[in-house]
Symmetry: C2
Subunit: 210 residues, 2 copies
């Protein structure tokens, strides 16, 4: 853990040295992490050369392949049996990236709400995606994940009614765990709320910076 | 791992000695594990005194509380930061259970498709619940989980169309990883398919045995 913390700090220094903004996206399988990354890549397509996506998964290259369709650079990191990325894996992934031409790095973590919470990667912020289809308890059950996050995206809100999930309650649960959490409601599939997330992340400004 | 295997074998011997049938239920948060356990408890309510549910979670007693409403005995096991139950935790939980009056033990594992796969608990079989709301990739991304399973329950099939998920493809993915996997399709919320799962598990017979 201490070693991971040290390596994460190294990663952060490297990002800052190159003026790169890095976001760690976390959430369960199927919550919409990859869809969010795809939407960001699509909406920032004029700057796709400046974006790198590091996609973490136990196995397969499904996510990286989906994201690569949008013309951004991708690095797939397979963790084997591990349920999370760690700072060492990110350090290794960064060795394959031309950092000088990079302004934004989006890290898509392995899909679950438990282990990735304990492993900082050196990102500037953590964004957690939950889907209303995960039911009403996913926040209360995983306080560490939400306590350590900066942004919460509650996704698939178009299905809230049919899922009988109370989005206000989810937001309240999250704020109770972490009052400084900034919460967005999205239906990424229907392009609802994604612009607000990108604006809050300041990604347009970064790509416009020079 | 070897130690866990040994403890799991001990648990299995203990179950067999008492004629107890034990099922390890796995799946992501929100897939429907607790709903399935509730449905089983409800449908076997004439035998509720013979059923024990061990509910695993990182924190909270939400699942055990839900299940306890149906009059079965419950043991909540909180893993703290661990993303899975292990055989030692089950051994400890069993110390609090009157095994002589027990015929069925249902273990609900911690919600994710990664870590629990590597930790046998001594159960007679493993049942994995996935929900179509988790998208089309959850099986391909987690081959170990499905390779080690005996039963697969594909849940929330009433939402397959709106989620644009192909249930046949999910079943095909699962059979490719593990051809001996027995697959059921359910909407637990709408009481579709649950009776077939219970029948396959032979739970009615067990409770009828004496």
């Amino acid at each position: 853990m201490a070693r991971n913390r040290r390596l994460a700090d190294n990663n952060l220094r490297l990002f800052d040295k190159h003026g790169i903004r890095t976001i760690n996206i976390l959430g369960s399988v199927g919550s919409g992490k990859t869809s969010l990354v795809e939407a960001i890549a699509q909406k920032l397509k004029d700057h796709r050369d400046e974006i790198v996506v590091i996609a973490g998964d136990v196995t397969t290259t499904i996510d990286a392949d989906r994201v690569a369709q949008h013309g951004v650079r991708t690095v797939q990191v397979n963790t084997g049996v591990e349920c999370h990325l760690d700072a060492k894996l990110i350090q290794k992934a960064l060795e394959t990236v031309d950092l000088a031409s990079t302004k934004i790095i989006i890290i898509e973590n392995v899909g679950n709400l438990i282990c990735p919470a304990d492993f900082p990667l050196g990102s500037h912020l953590r964004l957690v995606v939950v889907s209303v289809t995960e039911g009403p308890w996913m926040i209360q059950k995983h306080p560490v994940m939400f306590h350590e996050a900066d942004l919460l995206v509650i996704n698939k809100i178009d299905l809230a009614e049919i899922m009988e999930v109370d989005v206000d309650q989810l937001e309240q649960d999250a704020k109770q765990v972490n009052p400084r959490l900034v919460v967005f409601r999205t239906s990424i599939r229907k392009d609802q709320g994604v612009d607000a997330v990108i604006e809050h992340l300041g990604l347009h400004q970064i790509t416009k910076a020079d």
